[in-house]
Subunit: 342 residues, 2 copies
Amino acid sequence: MELDERKKIILHAVIRNYLETGEPVGSRTISKYTDLNLSSATIRNEMADLEEMGYILQPHTSAGRIPSDKGYRFYVDMLMAEKEKEVEEMKEVLVQRQDKMETLLKHVARALAQNTQYATMISAPQSRRNKLKFIQLSRVDAQQILAVIVSEGNVIKNNILHVKEDLNDETLLKLNILLNTNLNGLAIDEINLGLITLMKQQAGIHSDIVSEVIDAVAEAIHAEEDLEVYTSGTNNIFRYPELADHKKASELINAFEEKQLLGEILQGDGESTGIQVYIGAESPVQSMKDCSVVTATYELGDGMKGTIGIVGPKRMDYDKVVRTLRRLQTQLDDLYKNENQN
Amino acid sequence: MELDERKKIILHAVIRNYLETGEPVGSRTISKYTDLNLSSATIRNEMADLEEMGYILQPHTSAGRIPSDKGYRFYVDMLMAEKEKEVEEMKEVLVQRQDKMETLLKHVARALAQNTQYATMISAPQSRRNKLKFIQLSRVDAQQILAVIVSEGNVIKNNILHVKEDLNDETLLKLNILLNTNLNGLAIDEINLGLITLMKQQAGIHSDIVSEVIDAVAEAIHAEEDLEVYTSGTNNIFRYPELADHKKASELINAFEEKQLLGEILQGDGESTGIQVYIGAESPVQSMKDCSVVTATYELGDGMKGTIGIVGPKRMDYDKVVRTLRRLQTQLDDLYKNENQN
DNA sequence: TGTTAGCACTCGATGTGGTTGAGTGCTAAC
DNA sequence: GTTAGCACTCAACCACATCGAGTGCTAACA
């Protein structure tokens, strides 16, 4: 059976109504809600069809209908296809200057949570092909060397290295030159064993320091392992009775605490730059099977990518969420540029 | 009226029993539970006294008794007075090497949450009189200078400074020497306006860079503003029906998300190095009025102080919690030392 | 053939009344 | 001072009735 125009309208009405009330929707409501001028009995027939086709379902025999995952999917696909007509104002003032990427992301997560009343998460931007920009070794005291590693996108890492024999200024300078000339501008997969061996040879008796620095470099660039995720508005899930049940809430909150779980959603396939909607069981995270998750990948000017996500009930206001995220996608890049100019 | 020995035993029995079961305790239970050999009727008389004195209360007329805040307070004070007899093994292996203070603290929070089954929080160590150890400016590219500031306790801060005119290597070296000779070993309140003016004079046309570095130094040392707090086991609160109620849970989870709220507890008065127990309304945080909070201040060898906290139901196992925290107080310092040796 | 009115039916939600049992306070006796 | 006994209270539980929103089906209608 095909979804004819009238069925689409009815399905749409059922979903919209359910999104608003959170209660199962009956045939009489629909018959008044739409301007189809059909009696509840006719609606009932259509709804029976829709149920058979799997778009809606009944929680129990004598209740109204609620959208199934498939129904939500229909609705969301329809939404995404629609042209973006209006651009709503985001009320928060995000333009105040931030001194760090970290605080910026935290603020975005919080503003988004307040604006949407859902739980939000945002992953720090990462670049697969992050390049080394600058390395500096300096002596902190007799036994300690500080290694500072700057990579593109200004990701900075410090490591304190402990050395046994004292290094004089001259040696340190040589090592600095050695490291910078050899490694500058390279991405992680360009630093191969040959290069490392070569550098160790050149470093002579100080080859162990080179090793340690290389390790630190690897760690600084190879960022996948410790994906930074910032979350906010976790307690918003209590706004939605269908999620506030002890077991579900506990699982969800746990997921928000164990950030690497969120990573599975936020890292996604990496390719798509668009907006993804996971409805119920579509989510890669098991504990979110009763929620919907909307994610948007943002990209900063210099090729760094990150993801913003919103977690809410299946009956979330997809329309608004998608619009807000779309807007944020472009805004984040601007914000970041502003920040780096001051 | 005074608390005679028998009343103490009965009160103790009521509390212990309630801690285990979470249910109101009746007179008959107590009469069997203790080895006082008293009938339930006698216990009832004593319990009526205890209630009048405010140590226990009845949820409703025909229910058993539960401890009041005052009752818990009595119990905890008694516990704290007791000599520490046994030292229980902590099962987690915390000794694995950590590469950062941050991850160490996160792991401690998590291990503690798993061990106790309560929600935990830990604040990063801070020192009021943190001293500067080392400052280094280096050129990243034509327009950008990287300022690295190392203070005692190896708190490291990076700032990227943007400059208009190009700085040659010589000038940079001069600035480095200027900054280090003037600021090395100073605490924040020793850097006064006179010193700053002097340095700016010496820096000549590059005085604006000195200003920026000083700002960064202030930020690096003056850490109170952005107290770092790590939490874990938030979802443990669902284990306790008396906290799992929607409203309370939502408020609690919110408090755990808004870390600065936790700061009010964790920063405490700063003087006491011991273990603090806040029962119900004693807590400085309003939303924790239905919980108990136990905090312990830890001190690292170099004078840095932080606080560990555990949040649970009023009927938490104070005995175990206090013992675990006491143990952790000493362990953290050892762990930190180990970490810095590798 | 599509639409509608009508009706019997289902079933969760809500309310009511009775019972149970743990626990209490009080009193009188030991 | 302690205890046995008794009347009393009250949350919890269960059984039962009621209500009403909503359904599916059928027959009639345009």
